[in-house]
Symmetry: C2
Subunit: 201 residues, 2 copies
DNA sequence: GTCTATAGCCCGATAGAC
DNA sequence: GTCTATCGGGCTATAGAC
């Protein structure tokens, strides 16, 4: 049994990956050790040998998913190009919209928010994302892409929320449409934040 | 057993209200008939006499919650005042942020989105809200509150998403702060959509 | 490390008395 | 209408053999 994120055996990895998938598909309450074992092709004893139980395994899985989500966002945000282009690349990335956000979706689960170790990766991921977007937008303002009244931190908070809310609306509609409409509306609002013509460096 | 939303007995009402509360607190998967009966002060037989089972009772509860949410939004959006004031009133309404949205929270549950009758109230509520916000914003543009390039429908979609996403971020953080930051950022973006000085009617 | 067996509890639902 | 009894099954976890 370990949960410190180090290498681990093949079986342990399979268990973590199966848990990641099931947490995404069914949430924490809806994910049973039994289902994890079946998807991982491992037995009871195997799972309880490597992990202390469902919460322990879930903590490892959520940490890994958070890391992966952060890496994907960083890939878009650290591209070449203007701030607006990088934000657009982040927002326009292909997503399996109807599946929802692997991290944000867990925030709905009462057992997740009640367990500080389970909730921490959610909080840290969104805080990191907001801070990273703030950096990008602040660079954009410094370059004259946005006017001096433009608020990088507040806008970053809004961007993160629109993506998460877009997932909620799409799943409610059973259709990715509302997700894209919300993002398009946001981009149009952003486009109007341009500095006055001629002031751009 | 009924589920057509008509008056019904006192016990049936208590069961629906208990279900509304539990769906909000624990989600659909996390809500058991047993827990509903205990909170409503009713027995097994009572519940299965009035309703066909958990899905049937949940459908009645979700429809009622959706109606209540819509009424609350309409109260803010039909006030006296400018479009911007009404949107601000809607966004600024007191909310128990950490509880999340009674309707949007259910979109995360796979059993809810898989059941068309259970998902329909979610879709309809958000569609109605978006349409209503579009109306308000279009009035604002007609009155000269916003410039001619302003996009009421796209902005309405974004507004709905920011609120839903704000709940996700707040629950992830265990703190209402991110909800309010996202809304403030949105309002700042909206403020920059003003028509040029002097063009307002 | 992995297996099977078992535990005790809750799930969602049905049956039938009153 | 409401009650209690009961069902078959899944849940999370532990025990102990191999």
């Amino acid at each position: 049994m370990y949960s410190t994120g180090m290498s681990g055996t093949d079986t342990a990895h399979k268990l973590i990956e199966a848990t990641q998938e099931l947490l995404w598909e069914r949430g924490y309450v809806g994910t049973s050790p039994r289902a994890i074992q079946q998807r991982a092709g491992a037995g009871q004893g195997s799972m309880y040998h490597h992990f202390g139980g469902k919460p322990d395994l879930a903590r490892a899985a959520v940490r890994k998913s958070a890391q992966e989500m952060r890496a994907a966002a960083e890939a878009d945000l650290s591209r070449e190009g203007s701030a607006r282009e990088r934000v657009r690349a982040y927002l326009g990335r292909e997503r399996s919209v109807l599946r929802g956000c692997r991290i944000g979706g867990l925030a709905q689960d009462p057992d997740v928010v009640a367990d500080p170790e389970l909730r921490a990766p959610l909080q840290e991921t969104f805080e990191w994302l907001r801070a990273r977007l703030t950096e990008v937008l602040a660079e954009g303002r410094a370059n004259g892409e946005f006017g001096p009244a433009f608020d990088p931190a507040g806008t970053a908070a809004t961007i993160v929320a629109v993506v998460q809310g877009g997932y909620v609306l799409a799943r409610s509609a059973g259709d990715p449409g509302p997700f894209h409409e919300a993002l398009d509306g946001l981009l149009r609002l952003l486009d109007c934040q341009a500095a006055e013509p001629g002031t751009r460096s």
